[in-house]
Symmetry: none
Subunit: 619 residues, 2 copies
Amino acid sequence: MSGHQVTITFAPDGQQVSVPAGTTLLWAAQQAERDIVATCGARGRCRSCRVKVVSGTVPPPGLADRIQLGEDEVRERYRLACQTAVAEDLTVLIAPALEEAAFQILAGAGDLRSATSCALDSGVRKVLVRPQPPSREDHQSSDLEELLREVVEPVTEVPLQFLRTVPSLLRSAADGLTITLFDHGLLALEPGDTRAQAYGMAFDIGTTTVVGYLVDLSGGEVLETASSLNPQSAFGGDLMSRIAFAQESPSNVRQLHARILQLLNGQIEEVCAKAGVARDQIYKVVAVGNTAMHHLFLGIDPTYVGQAPYAPSVRRSLRVTARELGLRVHPNAPVFLLPLVAGFVGADTVGMVLATRIYESRETRIAVDIGTNGEVVIGSQQGLTACSAPAGPALEGAQIQCGMRGAHGAIDRVWVDRDVAYHVIGDGPPLGVCGSGLLDAIAGMLDAGVLDASGRLHPEPPSRVPDGLRRRVTALPGGMPAFVLAWGAETAAGKDIVLTQADIRQVQLAKAAIRSGITMLQRLRHAPDGQIEELMLAGGFGNYLSIRSAVRIGLIPNLPPDRVSYVGNAAGLGAQMALVSETERRRADDLARQIQHVSLADHPDFQDVFLEAVTFPEA
Amino acid sequence: MSGHQVTITFAPDGQQVSVPAGTTLLWAAQQAERDIVATCGARGRCRSCRVKVVSGTVPPPGLADRIQLGEDEVRERYRLACQTAVAEDLTVLIAPALEEAAFQILAGAGDLRSATSCALDSGVRKVLVRPQPPSREDHQSSDLEELLREVVEPVTEVPLQFLRTVPSLLRSAADGLTITLFDHGLLALEPGDTRAQAYGMAFDIGTTTVVGYLVDLSGGEVLETASSLNPQSAFGGDLMSRIAFAQESPSNVRQLHARILQLLNGQIEEVCAKAGVARDQIYKVVAVGNTAMHHLFLGIDPTYVGQAPYAPSVRRSLRVTARELGLRVHPNAPVFLLPLVAGFVGADTVGMVLATRIYESRETRIAVDIGTNGEVVIGSQQGLTACSAPAGPALEGAQIQCGMRGAHGAIDRVWVDRDVAYHVIGDGPPLGVCGSGLLDAIAGMLDAGVLDASGRLHPEPPSRVPDGLRRRVTALPGGMPAFVLAWGAETAAGKDIVLTQADIRQVQLAKAAIRSGITMLQRLRHAPDGQIEELMLAGGFGNYLSIRSAVRIGLIPNLPPDRVSYVGNAAGLGAQMALVSETERRRADDLARQIQHVSLADHPDFQDVFLEAVTFPEA
């Protein structure tokens, strides 16, 4: 550090932050609470944190800038924020990543009821009472006893705060009082009749995406949904780099914890405003997430989750109060976290098992959550086995040269025939390609012969390849083969949207992780394809990919199409079920104990299976 | 075990239980849910579990039987149930526990074990563990599971704060970790072996005096005691004026609450410093107090306690955490308040009932707590009845012209014969007169004829009054008659210490309140003096007064001296018992439900009885 302070100004709003010279732009942005995604964990290995220096002397580019951004962007004053130290005052523009709106995150209302039915027994109960103060006749009574006289079930826990309000409430309750109970505890006391208002929140906290559901506890309907990028992404896009960040210092753990809480509180505010619901009338919260997200939500250091044997700090289901966690719903509301199974098979997997009801299936079924941290569960009434399948972020469009999330401007469908046709989310000119487009493109390129089964993109395609495709095969400045999905003239930026050889390798590794997990579990359960009644695709990405393309590239086994189904955001669905039904929430505890976890890496067959899964199936 | 079953019959009711031969009589009794006290924890170190073998071959005595019971009892077929294994069918009689318990309380020593028999089962349990982080072999485990692996009982509650420390604690516990549990909850985690340190605090919060006891939970000993004036006295010496102050504004309630908390925290600091105990190793707190003190301790507005029908805001026993209350012991320590019965029959009365074991007496007993807010309990195994007896502070020396508390410089004993002799606490010159001196003086003045039965102090005493007393009868400047207890020349201030006619009237009203309570309860229970097995005097004042004087002035009925006993600060003792024994604490809940409360003022006979009690008995 050179000792003096410099001022960084963020365009377009002009927010300023003063930092010591020598700090990185990423760190400066974090001080200003500007969200910059750092998918690779600030190691200069991706381009997600790029910024444009709008005014001031642009710092000289480093090697990482040149590799990740290319000479064009370097010349256009783009730099990787994580690699760029500031020496003087600068104005920077953060590249549009988080501003992208309209994510196709699966958050559809109505999922719950269409996917499954469960008892409405949220445990939250409201009783209207019209109490009178103790009278001379009942001199062996008390204010509290009179207040609870009309409540049928025993109320064993009354928080101190209510004991303090009981005397005056009892004597000013002309319109009656509504008592809210949960599990024999007094949760809220409200003047008047508020029995019609009883709400809950379910959260699915993903590594990349966070979805919050506001649910009417009496009817079970999802009233509103909020989806956001996980703001922790600024400190590492994949789990391991985020854990590495946490490991650096306890204050980093606190920062990650604070970020996710802030986001959830924002979502609560958002859905409450939309639905016209008071935050204080949310009386129960259920959250799911993978082990690292679960721990960070609670403020637990996830360091050891990232080290062999990858054991969680706590696996059992937990109940904390909104007050102690700092969640801005009713302060006494219980916040439940579904239990974890092991290592990277977290509460989200338990949620998926709950929602898919795979545990009561007579035939063997497979549920796959395709995400940055994928999980596979196989089983039936006879038992369940699960493993994690760390695909990395490639299938979500990250660490792909022209990749992007499934947002406005993304190519999400690709047809390869004599030439390439595609669909863009929002129907405007394309900005990049998202995961489902990527899969379609690769499947089409395989069929057309542009790509061989080993994943090699031929610089000179075989003669059977039509001209329309042949001229799309090109080479990047460094010589790497690439395939043009959209010509510069068609795109928003005026530059070709390409799929590079490196991108294809990334997809191969990602799909091999998922597929080898499926194959290993099938072997361990002695369940060949013919015995699989159904394969269920869950998770944000799983619901947008084309099943045909997924089979073609070998992401999933070649089952008859009617045996593959989309089941929506099953983890979030499981959280909603546990929210509206204590029966389901308790079932989750039993399930977590029953699910057998398999650590694939420890299995002698795994290397073989994985390497086999890397190649693409023959046509 | 010899494999066959034997039948144990319990006299006198003939209940039977079948147990394997070779088990102890204590275990057999526990199977039959017969209560046998095993004070020493079934180690043969006390005699509390002795039983008499009524029929069958009495098992040979062991060494413990001979030591604890002596040859006489051994010959009379007594055995220690904890040491006696059964080989054949037996009929046994469980020895009566009550007489012993009641007798022991008379000792009034600070050591709880000598004072009363109760099981040492505080509920606070410490376990030393030497955990290892999860290893590859147990990949379906977690830090928390490894931490609790050696803990036998289920731990269902783990506060969030511990979940956050578990990962690092587990990996830095070279010398082991001590886990403190209470009621299936994790209360504390301490590095190293701290099993020898487990403490609790019992508080008796009186209107005038607050006593705090630091207790070693493993042995039951009181290590230190702190006694202070209730600082709320600054806002009203008697309950009603304190309630009136609280009623003025919520901030007054907060002020009274803050004052008492501050005092208790001061007492905690004081006893911990004296005993060399860390505040954080106090894991359980039990408090008793009358209804208003109870409410103010919790920060509950006592306004309605002071208005007919004088109903408390809450009667049930309560458990709050030290953290939420602001008590500076271990923040997770449970703070228990014993339950209230009704109005002014508070948790202190329940504590007194617990300590005196009046509930298990075969004969009718009376327990009287003589204090500013007195309470009377009458009863036996057949049931208990209680009333409040608001004596006011006169008996504690307040609102008496030369009155003072029983402190250094107080005349605490007075002998009236041809002249007056007195004893001064600390043996220096007197400063004033305290309650016990007051009673002695009045009793002596009655005997000498200076005072008549109506309570009138004769300006001209009858001729039989000796000269030494006669010249002590004087008149104050306003003309009010007074009696000089100590001449100015003898006193610290150089001024006469006198007893005025008004003082005598105050004492009459005070003693009438207590006595009419006793009489009313005797009437309601149809228990004339002849049927009263014992009258127990409890409370700070009750333990210093002369029984002879108390009988002479009619404060208590004229029972044979051996039927009146001092039982020490029974309310505080009850709090200590609930502290060291969860059995006793739970018993308090049952007792509070069973005690029938009588509101004297509502009874048609009361006015007569009270007015009669105002006069002094004839010689």
